[in-house]
Symmetry: none
Subunit: 214 residues, 4 copies
DNA sequence: GATGAATGAGTGTTCATTCAT
DNA sequence: TATGAATGAACACTCATTCAT
């Protein structure tokens, strides 16, 4: 445009690719973005570097994403969903509530260690970006909901303190596990992962007044 | 940039000011930096804005600090020292154990909300800076130590589960409180502060198997 | 900044330079901006080229101007004021109203030809930029006001049709002259400048019912 | 870019469509281009948005047009031709001369407001494109010619000042009306359309020394 | 010591145009 | 002929740091 002033109101929002080729390119960009975020942190996460890592030209980035933040949100959602799915407790522990708690905590810690340098980075951004903050709250809600449901079932089975509010309890105990992951993997407090899992689980069980199955 | 630590020392490192005036200027810069970090977070923490808030000219910033990170480390050190100092007079002495837990949790949450937004920011944002990471671990250690000692006394008095490792327990339950502060104040999950304090305390007490005083 | 998201609310607005050196630099940027606009039009008017033409580095541009538009507005104001000053009718025609009209029209046409490729360019931008549009209206108002006052004096002296609304008349006849400048210099309709001046003046005089001085 | 005319002809210039379908597509693009120019001005006039508005895919644009400028020229030519066509049936024939002037001015102002925002945009914005400049001069000539003929008839009938050069007068008074349209519709000077029509007509009549019909 | 001007590499984004299918 | 993905130079702007006075 010859004239620099005046913004167009109608910036065409990138839509989902319709051809297989487009899908491949978009996937490559998402993968490259995630990879860079995990290996190089914020400094590596620029549209230019992402495009280059995906093997496409700079402009192509904006064929699929409205902005850098758009890609970030996409990556975060993907990582969060993966993590949530991974941390689902294997059904073979169905009978033993304590074993389930241990498995859940171990699973969470491992999922965090493996997949979520992304989430750690993002927590920082959330301080100044509202969309990101809400996205993190959404992700948290998944865990909170699952934890609350688990507790409710235990209460109904007479295996846990019926006086505890399920949601609040899930939030607080979830926070415990989340921060431990942060302490171990980000701050690198020198602790044995398995020892932490056991201890957390013991405290968790005691906190909810878990009784051995009748 | 925080990641760019460990430069080769080719430029004159600013030395401590020798005149009273110099000291005042430096103090003003540190205070302004802390203030900005607490009130505006990372986006407000630029040399230019710090200098302006301190009422000195832009260039003066570099008379006293090698870099932006240099000031950041200085501010963090100051906040950490303050927390050390405060912790010495902790009213940890006597009375009803449960009430003490409630008071400690309430106090911790409030300290976190007010004075140490700085630490929260740094904890989530400075993951590549080793100096800061270690400083954070030191501050944590302070609280862990105090928590562990408290638990040990309870155990010795026969008021808490003697099977728990005091240090590990303090770490895990401390993490719970710390993360709840993050959830409430940074992510702004809509929760009543006092309700959280009560719930956390109840879970904490149950977790350590707290018994009412004989 | 490591984090890309979140805009700072406090962008320091560039203030007027306080030292002589600063004033020189700022003046050089304004001059270069005007020069480029006049010689190369919009395509040459980029912060980078302006800075280069002024012999300073890129970043310096933003030491003195909030944005490209900021400089543009500055240049427009300057050109407009210059033009308005230039087109003031020499006082030696005080006695003869018709001679004054001729002089004013000739002056306007010349001022436009010399100084205001800038204004022509800007008229285009005004279509999509509100600030610019208002700036142009302000400039117009200067001329309109002067024209209206002139007519009022003639009416009071009984030398012009007293039934004409001075302001509206000034607007309409001013539009006539302005567009003729555009037609001659921008569209390059092949017309003799002096012939146009004479004809415009004759029509202008007839339109306001100018009577020879008693 | 408009300034980039006269490329070396190394790529296949799009030829006129041969199938009916091709013609429909091309027409849709032209119509969409015109529509966007009229409703959104320059910012809306991008190949992408034009294609989208025409309901065809992006790439198709370049099946029919060599460039964005190619479409612009096509649209301008179309608008110009329309104006030529309309001018042929101008109701210029008889009646009260003053009423005719009023009607002509009102009509011109309205035409300008509606159909030829395109021309207004181009007149102020396309100063480096020779093709367009000449096209604009041609359109102007049409109106000038008509105006001059009208004046000549009035002079022959003894109803207007016989000392005026018809062509020059038509140019100057035409400029007056044209610029008023610009002032009202582009710069949005707050004036009543009908009041402007009346005033312009009064000044016009006085300027040519119009005498009431014998 | 203090000032404020100067620096310039880096960032996110746009968009007219080309290309493979 | 039609599609939509791909291209990349260009642009406006930021900001930690350095420098001349």
């Amino acid at each position: 445009m010859m004239v620099a002033m005046g913004r167009s109101r109608t910036k065409p929002a990138p839509s989902a690719p319709v051809t297989a080729r487009g899908r491949r390119t978009r996937d490559a960009l998402v993968a490259a973005g995630r990879e860079l975020l995990e290996t190089r942190g914020w400094p590596g996460f620029t549209p230019e570097q992402v495009a280059q890592a995906a093997g496409v030209s700079y402009g192509t980035f904006y064929t699929y994403f409205e902005s850098k933040d758009d890609l970030l949100r996409t990556v975060v959602r993907m990582v969060a969903e993966e993590m949530f799915a991974e941390s689902r407790v294997a059904p073979d522990t169905a009978g033993d509530p304590y074993a389930r708690i241990v498995a859940a905590n171990r699973g969470y810690l491992r999922a965090w260690r493996n997949a979520s340098r992304v989430l750690r980075l993002v927590e920082r951004g959330a301080d100044s970006d509202d969309t990101l903050r809400r996205l993190l709250l959404e992700v948290r809600e998944l865990y909170v909901h699952r934890g609350a449901e688990g507790l409710r079932r235990l209460q109904e089975a007479g295996l846990a303190d019926p006086g505890l509010d399920p949601r609040m309890t899930a939030i607080v105990l979830g926070a415990m596990v989340e921060q431990m992951a942060h302490v171990i993997y980000a701050l690198r407090e020198p602790l044995e992962e398995e020892a932490v899992v056991e201890h957390m689980s013991k405290l968790w069980a005691a906190a909810i007044g878990l009784r051995a199955q009748a």
